[in-house]
């Protein structure tokens, strides 16, 4: 199909090359339009894929229940309440595990901030009291040693699994597994090291931070208790929290949301205050996908506008070109060119312009995300479909905005056109 128009395309290119600067400037609108579309889509895609990946890591079959200070208690702290009791109870976990047949596993989590010491080195880290099932739900490669096992619970031993980052800071490369570290006032034996997960952002709090120490939950309860002292702006607040989080694994994905609703109803019955929060990664995933769609629509609109502007630029120049080349059109018509051959001639010029602009724009659109990733470290994903789409759109822009000037050129009366100065 293209070979049929080789002569016309060559003619168009020759005409465009007669005014190199003008052609180049005319093209710029499409170049930047297409370039920015691809770059924006790549950045947006990268960001949303990262967000989706984070949520996916939380597990689409999981339900996360966290303790949260209820609103009335939060606002009452400036009154002389020194002691607040809130949050999930050991009892809650048992109840959830027993009352829902769709629940496969429940993992209780207790978080305590403690100062860790080894010799002269010291750092604050988060001590996570949990059960071996934690390591099934949040799978992380073991670097050395082992993770917590049921026998650690039976033995009530002071054993700890550290994350890699904590190890590097605290142990500084000393012979690690088997080493003893102090957490608060207790001594723990390091039995294993696991890899860090990337830090988890968003509003979902999982005890999955970079510097974590995992210990058996019964040991955490026995050694550190359920009472915590917080120093907020000079005043001391005591809190009693049994569990900071319960991770519930559901047997199948389609049972996740009904189970979450059931858990919420149950918690409502047994808690007087609303001191918990239920979040469902699956729902968040759906929301994130919806957000991504909205984002794409917004980007698409911006892209549409910039390409529209580019197209208007092309049309403007082509109209000027038609006026300038009136005599040429007259000569061609007198010699025997048909109207549609004149239309084709001018249309091909605009298509060559806009398509070349589109191709250069794709080059820029690939370069910008690459540089963003290189310089700012942001993930970017260039989709093949966005390249094909923008090339198609830029050709379309050439056709749509080239058609009017081309038709106008072809409708010139050859007699009048020949007299044009």
């Amino acid at each position: 199909m293209l070979s049929k128009y080789v002569r016309e395309i060559r003619l168009g290119i020759n005409n465009l090359l007669l005014h190199k600067l003008r052609s180049f400037l005319t093209m710029l609108g499409v170049v930047f339009g297409v370039g920015s579309v691809i770059a924006m889509l790549a950045v947006g895609e990268g960001a949303s894929q990262e967000a989706l990946e984070r949520i996916r890591k939380l597990g689409s079959q999981n339900i996360l229940i966290s303790s949260a200070k209820s609103i009335e208690e939060e606002s009452a702290t400036n009154v002389r309440i020194r002691m607040s009791v809130y949050g999930l109870l050991y009892e809650d976990e048992r109840r959830i595990a027993e009352s829902f047949p769709s629940v496969k596993n429940t993992v209780p989590v207790k978080e305590i901030r403690k100062q860790a010491r080894l010799g002269e080195r010291s750092m604050e880290l988060r001590v996570v009291g949990t059960t071996p099932k934690w390591f099934d739900l949040v799978q992380r490669p073991i670097i050395s040693g082992r993770v917590l096992l049921p026998r650690d619970f039976e033995a009530h031993g002071n054993v700890v699994v550290l994350t890699e980052h904590g190890v590097r800071t605290l142990l500084a490369g000393e012979n690690t597994v088997g080493q003893t570290v102090r957490l608060g006032s207790e001594y723990f034996e390091v039995i294993g090291i696991v890899q860090n997960a990337g830090s988890i952002g968003g509003d979902i709090q999982t005890p999955d931070q970079e510097i974590d120490a995992y210990i058996p939950i019964n040991v955490a309860r026995e050694r550190f208790g359920d009472y915590f002292v917080k120093n907020v702006a000079g005043s001391e607040t005591r809190e009693k929290v049994e569990l900071h989080q319960i991770i519930v694994e559901v047997k199948s994905v389609d049972q996740v949301e009904p189970t979450a609703a059931g858990i919420l109803a149950m918690l409502k019955r047994f808690h007087k205050k609303e001191d918990y929060r239920v979040s469902v990664p699956l729902t968040l995933l759906r929301q994130a996908e919806a957000t991504k769609r909205t984002f794409n629509i917004v980007l698409g609109s911006i892209a549409g506008i910039s390409l529209l502007v580019g197209g208007i630029g092309i049309m403007n120049i082509m109209l000027a070109s038609v006026t300038e080349r009136t005599r040429e059109i007259g000569i061609r018509r007198a010699i025997g060119a048909k109207k549609r051959q004149i239309v084709l001639q001018f249309l091909i010029e605009t298509i060559v312009l806009s398509t070349t602009g589109g191709l250069i724009g794709i080059g820029i659109g690939l370069l910008i995300p690459w540089m963003i990733t290189l310089l700012a470290g942001m993930p970017t994903v260039v989709n093949a479909y966005s390249l094909v789409l923008s090339l198609g759109i830029s050709m379309g822009v050439g056709i749509i905005f080239g058609l009017y000037p081309a038709v106008r050129a072809s409708n010139l009366d050859p007699i009048v056109a020949l007299r044009h100065e």
């Binding site: 000569i331 010699i335 025997g336 060119a337 048909k338 109207k339 051959q341």
Partner: protein
Amino acid sequence: MSSLSSNGIAAQLEDVHKDYHMGSQVVKALAGITISFQTGSFWAILGPSGSGKSTLLNLLGCLDRPSKGRYLLSGHDVSTLDDDRLSDMRLRHLGFIFQSFNLLPQSTVEENIQLPLYYLGWNAADSAERARDLARKVGLEERLRHRPMELSGGQQQRVAIARALANNPSILLADEPTGNLDSATGKEIMGMLIDLNRQGKTIIMVTHERTLAEYASHRLYMKDGMIERIEGGDSSC
């Protein structure tokens, strides 16, 4: 198809009228022209400005359609053809030579000569050969790569003649072909047209110079959109 028209008449007008509407007024540019142009004849059309000679040439050149009457070009009635068919008639049967040469300034001599062949769909090799032959014929073989601006007026008109001949037209239409040239160069161009006529080409030329009209075999005097008189030839109408 052209065997039907081999009765020796290249173009024939039968009671041709042309009206122009200027607002509510109707201007009669041509008011009933009947004439036959024999194949191989050389016509000069003369007359004061406004006499309708340009309109007549535009009609003969298929650039316009008569308001009334019939126009037969090489045996085809072209008075009612649509724009595409008229373009085709121009492409296949006519060659134009203009007062102001009307070459494409950005194109080379070669490309200008090839222009009709482009629309006839000739391939590159054939049209290059044809352009070389024609350039040789008008003595511009050495200038094929030049642009019109680099040539003198006479040379430019010779390029235009070569271009007009490229499609081997049955009629060559010339509109004041020497109007932009000095008298010596003008004579040279006229000589070229006379040569072409001797080789059998039908030529219809609009001019206002009687001395040039003397070269033609027939002279058609126009006045007020009508034929005033015809000179020369034997008895063509």
